[in-house]
């Protein structure tokens, strides 16, 4: 929470003057920082760094922009004082730059070239890969499948996780730690191994699922080999794998809701359902938002379960964007197309996450 609020404060700053404002704000806040409890106060209240910052005068602005900016930057006592902290984050920043920032720009470059990853020379083709995406029928199918999967799995996972979290978090329920472990276990197990096990569970003739459903009169369903059902077979497996993550988050968030608010609501005559709907869930909103955004991103990145269980079939009914990216990069020798699809995926996820944050994050 502390990090989250601090981060929000930083994000609110304008990009072009971020660095300057941070340091001016830090200077203004320095007395608070020096007291032992000030940082906690700052974080808990969510007070933006901007709110305490001195207005930037033209004199200070020009001095920072002058040739001596770097020297004065290092002379600042708060900068010198935090050198240790910067060194602590340096290893992460180096790894982040090498493994995240660098590959991102490299992928952008790759989307403009053509050829196999193993070829030493790959010709520059400009935006041709992006144009090719629009004429490839399978590309359209995989984007449609990914969208269909995402809009199905995210609400189902979040709502059922919320319900299960309320069940496990109920005061009457004993062995809460046991249930937490049970629901979280699938996330710890190897995706490939669990997918293999599910392929047997969902098998038509010998599968456990078919056997159990037969007791309630459900006819045999070809979960992974019928194009109508295959995506839902994948959804079932992924729901089982991912729900533990959401439940653990929700349980933690529920514990953070002050008991006084529950008591107050009950004194006012609210029943359990009303307490949950009117008090608990609204206060869990930031965590639900996080859960929805992460669930959406993961849903668009679905790959390993599809790769092991159906390999995109039958008839491309479970082919997802990342599965198709993988095939282009490593099997088809078309790394440019793969990179272009990756960029398009980024352009899809970014606005969806933004809208989700705006809608769920308001208030």
């Amino acid at each position: 929470m502390i990090r989250g609020r601090a981060a929000v404060g930083l994000v609110q700053l304008q990009p072009c003057t971020d660095l300057q404002r941070v340091f001016f704000a830090a200077k203004a806040k320095s007395s608070e920082f020096h007291s032992r409890k000030s940082i906690y106060h700052w974080a808990r209240t969510g007070e933006s760094l901007q709110s305490g910052a001195e207005p930037m005068t033209s004199a200070t602005s020009s001095s920072v922009q002058s040739g001596t900016a770097i020297a004065s930057f290092w002379k600042r006592s708060d900068v010198r004082r935090n050198v240790g902290a910067y060194l602590f984050i340096l290893p992460f920043m180096i790894l982040f730059a090498v493994f995240n920032v660098g590959p991102f720009f490299w992928a952008l470059w790759l989307s403009l070239i053509r050829g196999d990853l193993v070829q030493p020379v790959k010709p520059f083709v400009g935006l041709q890969n992006y144009v090719s995406l629009t004429t490839d029928n399978i590309t359209l199918t995989v984007f449609k499948n990914s969208l269909q999967y995402t809009v199905s799995v995210v609400p189902i996972a979040v709502i059922t996780a919320l319900a299960l979290a309320f069940l496990i978090g109920n005061k009457l329920v004993r062995f809460k730690d046991f249930y937490r472990s049970v629901v979280f276990f699938p996330l710890l197990a190897s995706a490939a191994a669990t997918a293999q096990i599910w392929s047997y569970i969902l098998a038509p003739r010998y599968g456990v699922m078919t056997y159990l459903l037969s007791f309630v009169g459900v006819p045999e369903i070809y979960w992974l080999s019928d194009p109508t059902f295959a995506l839902y077979g994948i959804l079932l497996v992924e729901w089982w794998r991912g729900i533990g993550f959401h439940i653990i988050l929700f349980l933690a968030a529920m514990l953070g809701v002050p008991e006084e608010l529950h008591e107050a609501a009950r004194i006012d005559g609210a029943n359990a359902w009303q307490v949950a709907i009117r008090v608990t869930i609204p206060l869990m909103r930031p965590v639900i938002l996080f859960s929805v955004v992460m669930g959406t991103i993961w849903a668009f990145q679905l790959f390993d379960t599809v790769f092991v269980l159906t390999n995109g079939g039958p008839v491309h009914s479970t082919a997802t964007i990342v599965w198709y990216i993988y095939n282009h990069a490593f099997r088809y020798g078309q790394v440019g197309m793969a990179a272009a699809m990756g960029v398009v995926l980024l352009l899809i996820i970014m606005p969806i996450s933004f809208v989700q944050m705006r809608v769920l994050g308001e208030r």
Binding site: R81, V83, G84, A85, L87, F88, L90, P91, I94, L95, V98, R114, G115, D116, L117, V118, Q119, P120, A192, S199, Y200, L202, A203, P204, R205, Y206, G207, Y222, W223, L224, S225, D226, P227, F307, V308, G313, P314, V315, H316, Y326, N327, A329, F330, R331, Y332, G333
Partner: protein, 445 residues
């Protein structure tokens, strides 16, 4: 009393952070330095420097644990014969095969010796595989040791880039018990498509969820043979056009489709496409006949020793000669990385692995056919000996960089009519268009 520098909490943290940063950067830089092959052996022997070569191969599990049962015993013998060589062998799972090879060769870190299949030209065209003609000539290696056909997949523009090592081919396997129950001679396989159909119908009529024939709906190796058996071809001679929509080819497609939808003698694709799969249902006595690679015989025997298995060439279709009995075939090859530091030792490994004894102890152990007319792996095994004699009926897919994309197009198109999603004509015509687009794109590239 110490009057020197005082270690405050802040300075302690700063120093620790500095050390952590330096250590991380140092570790990162050291990780960038490539390890020297054989370095681990450098300190040991003053008398002889042992060179460690890396060797990667996709696993063939039909016989069980390949590394333990077949590969390592063979490599132990090789290392005894050549004590200056040590082979660091890795099984690369097929699911990771492409990404691992592509990543390794792209970084010039490919294995010294590698097992290669149909997508081999990707690495040849990009200069990652060593040409072998000069070494073959200078060593006096007798090319006739291998079947002539076996050299073809590893030869490009007249240059040889690999040694044939494995020949895999498909056969017709049948369940003798089901044949007998259906009133057919258990030792006589179907000779014609009419026989094949009649036997399939009689076995299906046994009921109890039993089918005469089964195949995976997306089994590109097996299902793609049906147009050939009826006289069709996949490509023109120079591989620039897909022609699998001729009248003869359509005869094959329609016959195959009718097994599922009209005659209903084939296990529905939605069932055979899931666990336990075609092999599993056949093993469990639910299917009378399948076509599968001959290593499958080992799987059945290890999983169900009492299974009454028959193996032979496929029943013949209307096409003349070997084409009428067309089955999948493929050559697995041994190649040397162009940038290996140890070309001589790598060549020694290649030469040694194809000697009759070592060929038998590894490839024979797996249950494949022999690449050499001079080596019979299974003189005392009638089933596998039969399988070995069916090489003449096998048809190789083109060894081209685009093969995986082709297989995806082919498999998905066939699957679509097997599962009843499209008509045969819709699926085949769409497939031909897609394959021709792909060929034109490749030609343009």
């Amino acid at each position: 009393m110490a009057t020197g520098t005082k270690l405050s909490r802040r300075s302690f943290l700063a120093k620790t952070a500095t050390m952590a940063g330096v250590a991380t950067v140092g570790a990162g830089l050291s990780a960038c330095v490539p390890a020297v092959p054989g370095a681990a052996d450098d300190g040991g022997g003053a008398a002889m420097e042992v060179v460690t070569l890396t060797m990667w191969k996709g696993p063939h599990k039909a016989a069980g644990d390949e590394t333990k049962l077949c590969a390592q015993p063979t490599l132990d013998v090789l290392e005894e014969m050549h004590p200056e060589i040590s082979v660091d062998f890795s099984e690369v799972p097929w699911g990771q095969y492409n990404e691992k090879f592509v990543s390794a060769f792209a970084a010039d870190q490919g294995p010294d010796v590698s097992y290669q299949t149909e997508s081999f030209p990707r690495f040849v065209n990009s200069g990652h595989i060593m040409p072998l003609d000069e070494r073959i000539a200078s060593s006096g290696f007798d090319r006739s040791f291998f079947f002539e056909r076996a050299w073809e997949p590893g030869t490009y523009d007249g240059t040889t880039y690999s040694f044939p090592w494995i020949i895999g081919g498909s056969n017709l396997f049948w369940n003798k018990d089901l044949f007998e129950q259906a009133g057919w001679d258990p030792d006589t396989p179907p000779d014609t498509m009419d026989d094949f159909l009649a036997i399939s119908q009689d076995i299906t009529a046994l009921g109890d969820d039993i089918y005469g024939f089964a195949t995976h709906p997306k089994g590109w190796h097996e299902n793609g043979q049906w147009p050939r058996r009826f006289g069709g071809s996949w490509f023109n001679d120079d591989l620039t056009e897909c022609i699998v929509n001729t009248a003869e080819a359509y005869d094959g497609w329609h016959f195959f489709n009718s097994l599922f939808h009209d005659l209903e003698v084939a296990m529905p694709g939605a069932i055979s496409g899931q666990e336990p799969g075609v092999g599993g249902y056949f093993r469990d006595g639910k299917v009378g006949m399948i076509t599968a690679q001959n290593v499958y015989a080992n799987s059945v025997r290890s999983e169900k020793p009492e299974f009454n298995l028959g193996a032979s060439r496929m029943a013949t279709g209307p096409a003349e000669g070997a084409r009428g009995r067309a089955c999948y075939g493929g050559v697995g090859m041994l190649a040397i990385a162009a940038k290996t530091e140890y070309p001589d030792e790598s060549w020694t490994v290649l030469e040694t692995l194809v000697t009759p004894d070592l060929l038998t102890s590894w490839i024979g152990c797996l249950g494949f056919m022999s690449v050499s007319p001079h080596v019979n792996f299974y003189p005392d095994d009638p089933v596998l000996t039969t399988a070995q004699t069916t090489l003449e009926y096998t048809f190789f897919w083109p060894y081209r960089g685009w093969i995986f994309k082709f297989w995806d197009i082919e498999g998905t198109s066939i699957e679509s009519f097997v599962l009843g999603q499209r008509s045969v004509e819709e699926a085949v015509e769409d497939m031909v268009v897609q394959v021709n687009d792909m060929l034109r794109e490749e030609e343009g590239a």
